[in-house]
Symmetry: C2
């Protein structure tokens, strides 16, 4: 029932629901629209969090509260003409998914701000390919606006400023989740990074198969040299080459406590010839949801300011300063 | 002799000279203009670093290489019409100095990008008061673009994104300089923050008096709750109130090694009710010059992009993402 910028959330799994909870605390943003795979809900006065989650949990879709649809995003965009921006809290798989969703907005002639928290380099490169079309259509699309890429990539862009030359950017994350089944899609994306797995195999795994794998590893997933779009985001800005950026981490699927502190370490050479490193470290008590959804809405607010000034097309989280949302 | 954006430096003390050295390594920027208290030098093909420093050191002014003038900034602005942006590497005292310099540009009808690394809250508030005039004149003015405020304030703005509410921002710097006499103005600004001193008293001190004070403290200056504009920069963005921001540090005037690692710690509450802190820590081997001049030119590049898109007026380092300069 707020009077802020009207925003929607696409996807209502663990991330989308966390985003909806985050929005409850924001006076400047009003949550008015949501779509999942099988339907959408829209209320220009604001959606009710408890009702929407209850509808999703009881029927498997927010459509039971609003409208059931197998083209839920397109139907929502057509119905919800007052929405000024959307957070795309969607699965990263397949790689083409975000581009397909962007094409739905293009096809509808929609104008406004879109923000994603996609992870994979290849998915983001596809999105860069839509830059011209999105710019011409008057859409401001901010990509890579989660934690990594996102918060930590932005910190790397800030850190690079002290250096004449950047040699290495190392992003290492720790994630602790008490119950992996609340993040089924995310965990499968993580598994796809393991040796011997790929996107198709991970996506095809049943819950029982995921459970069996986690049983073998004691609930721990150790991920190295992941395909994370931090690399192309920094390369695109001339900060370093993509191969100088590495992303890895440890996911504990059985404890909410993080197995290590998530941090970004940027190493370079100053104009005086000194080799040194700046580091940005996230507090252990901050959850993945806080570190993804907070930035996503901070970039949405920044995106709105760009949109209002006529700046459209694809921009990344490393070249735009997110704005704090009250 | 570069083909990059033509930039000038105002002020040619320790900071201005370091900025000129930094520019030597930048293909994207060409150093074409400089002014000090008693003169200016301008060469649209690019100034020679060694010649300019030699002229300054032998005569006390770059005017001996170019033109001597007691209205050096105004005369330079009138003469150097090809300069697209200036870094104001000027003393912070008096508080009105940056505003007076901005008025020189306004009076000349100049258009382009100005970047300062001013420190004091009261000086920045005066600059905010020029927002409308600078916007109307077509000048993009980025303020607070050094290390603190600047690099560390931007890191705080990034860090705030994970939190529903920000409780505290603590910036603690360590500075080590082997020879304080290379930074006479900066050291006097630091002394003005000590108990029993103020701006007028510090500015009026002779070198011998500064030397005597440093003798008493073993060359160490410990500074607490300094008047640093990080506070109003974060307040202006709604991140927190100014009194929740503290800046302090330790300056060792006898050793190049830092007495402690410079860092920013932001503490807040996440949407899930957790209290936690993100930290951004600068590598000890990075000098004040690297951490001030690098960001200053990164913001100058970002400011040029804003300028070209018709975004003018006063913006701070906490609301614009600096762009890496090659």
């Amino acid at each position: 029932m707020g009077s802020g910028m009207k925003v929607g959330i696409l996807g209502f799994g663990g991330l989308g629901q966390a985003a909806a909870v985050v929005l409850q605390g924001k006076q400047e943003l009003t949550w008015v629209a949501v779509a999942d795979r099988h339907g959408y809900a829209y209320d220009p006065q604001g959606l009710n969090l408890q009702q929407t989650i209850a509808a999703y949990q009881s029927s498997g879709s927010v459509g039971s509260l609003g409208v059931s649809s197998e083209q839920s995003i397109g139907d929502l965009v057509a119905a919800a003409d007052g929405v000024e921006g959307f957070f795309l809290a969607l699965p990263n798989l397949p790689n083409t998914f975000f581009v397909e969703v962007a094409r739905v907005f293009l096809a509808a002639g929609w104008r406004g701000v879109l923000v994603d928290a996609l992870k994979r380099t290849s998915a983001m490169e596809l999105m860069f390919g839509l830059d011209r079309e999105l710019a011409d259509a008057g859409i401001t699309y901010l990509t890579g606006c989660g934690a990594t890429p996102g918060l930590l990539t932005a910190a790397a862009a800030i850190a690079s400023q002290s250096f004449a030359e950047v040699h290495r950017v190392e992003i290492t994350f720790g994630v602790g989740i008490a119950n992996w089944q609340a993040y089924r899609a995310t965990i499968r994306e993580d598994i796809a990074h393991l040796a011997g797995y790929d996107v198709a195999r991970a996506q095809g795994m049943t819950d029982a198969e995921v459970e069996a794998l986690l049983e073998q590893t004691g609930g721990i997933l150790t991920l190295e040299r992941m395909e994370h779009a931090d690399d192309v985001m920094l390369e695109r800005l001339g900060i370093c080459d993509r191969h100088q950026v590495t992303v890895g981490g440890v996911v504990d699927t059985r404890h909410a406590q993080k197995p290590l502190s998530t941090h970004m370490k940027l190493t370079g050479r100053t104009f005086e010839g000194k080799i040194s490193s700046h580091t940005f470290t996230l507090g252990d008590e901050t959850s993945m949801a806080a570190n993804v959804c907070g930035p996503a809405f901070g970039y949405l607010k920044a995106g709105k300011r760009l949109y209002d000034r006529g700046i459209h097309g694809v921009l990344t989280a490393a070249e735009v300063m997110p704005l704090f949302v009250r």
